[in-house]
Amino acid sequence: MSLRSNGHQWGSVAKFFHWIVALGILGNGVWGLLMTGMAPSINKINIYALHKSIGLTILALFALRLAWRLYDGAPPDEPMPRWQRVIAHATHVLLYGFILAMPLSGWLFNSLHGYPLQWFKLFNLPALAAKNDDLSHLAGDVHEWLFYLLLIVLVGHAGAALKHHFFDRDNVLRRMLPFARTRHGKTTSGELT
């Protein structure tokens, strides 16, 4: 498996970014929904701090991922109807938007609430806005709702991948899976786009 993507499948760097960000966003989102009901305690403080640290990590990984994607390119699309291709790419753009908006809205929420922002107790990051209690509530709701919207788009994204894998029996999913081999004769071999 090569680091870079080729005409048949995604490279290992692109796969790493895809799956680590997927795991991070989902895990941190569920974590975030569960933690809000906690009574004040040092555990709550630490759990929130971890949520924020993971979110900032996802933001940094996303920046690296975007840079790698621009450098590395992508394998050509699997054969599929044009409408599917358009929707698939639109979904990817949307998901990129959500991956960016989730941590940024959290950062903004944290800033408006007037909390410090620390990355794994190592260093602090500046506030994006001045403390504002009214806007803080709004930003908190936006942060939460963005995750629900992301989940809806994610269901479409994962559902389409599974449909291609089990019904069309093509390489759409396989070429992104960490250790799977692509099916022979199913993919269009071509240049990187």
Partner: protein, 184 residues
């Protein structure tokens, strides 16, 4: 002529205690008592809105100088609702049991040009020595008095239970007071 000698003696008798004792002052509005601590790598400031201080001070008569300060702990405000509702609670000041903190000087000493007030701080049922740097500036008949010092919160059990983790809440609390004084 006979009268003058007893009257001089009387004047001396009256004046002597004044010469031996430091001057007493009243604390004027505009005086502040605040603190600075650290939460998640970021410092925050707080204020006590209700406190009283009896100040006797004279830089030349440190032996008879004295500070006696009582702080109403429930009046601590730090500009954050979560923090301000946590501070009076049992984990921190525990104002239900220990509503006030008390600081009284035991001695003053000079370290170079810096005057240092040594005293005992009683906070949350614990009494321990605390020293403060003193900057006293006479102004007309009054003065301004600035003191700074550091209190180790865990010495007094402030946030001593589950909040004892100093990587989350810093161990040192800097205390800073600015007093505007008028002669009594």
């Amino acid at each position: 002529m006979n009268i003058r000698i007893p009257s001089l003696a009387l004047m001396l008798a009256v004046a002597t205690p004044c010469l031996a004792n430091a001057a007493d002052y009243n604390v004027q509005p505009g005086s502040t008592l605040g603190f600075t601590s650290n939460f998640q790598g970021s410092s925050f400031d707080g204020q006590f809105n209700k406190w009283t201080a009896a100040i006797s001070y004279d830089a030349a008569k440190l032996a008879s100088s004295k500070f006696d300060v009582t702080v109403d702990l429930a009046t601590a405000k730090t500009g954050d609702n979560d923090r301000d509702s946590a501070l009076p609670g049992a984990d921190f000041f525990n104002v239900a049991k220990y509503p006030q903190a008390h600081f009284v000087t035991t001695a003053f000493h000079q370290q170079g040009s810096q005057v240092i007030a040594d005293g005992m701080l009683t906070l949350r049922g614990v009494t321990k020595p605390v020293s403060l740097n003193v900057t006293f500036k006479p102004q007309g008949s009054g003065a301004t008095l600035d003191v700074t010092g550091t209190v180790k919160r865990l010495d007094f059990g402030v946030g001593g239970g589950q909040y004892a983790d100093t990587s989350v809440i810093g161990p040192d609390v800097k205390v800073k007071a600015h007093l505007v004084l008028s002669a009594k």
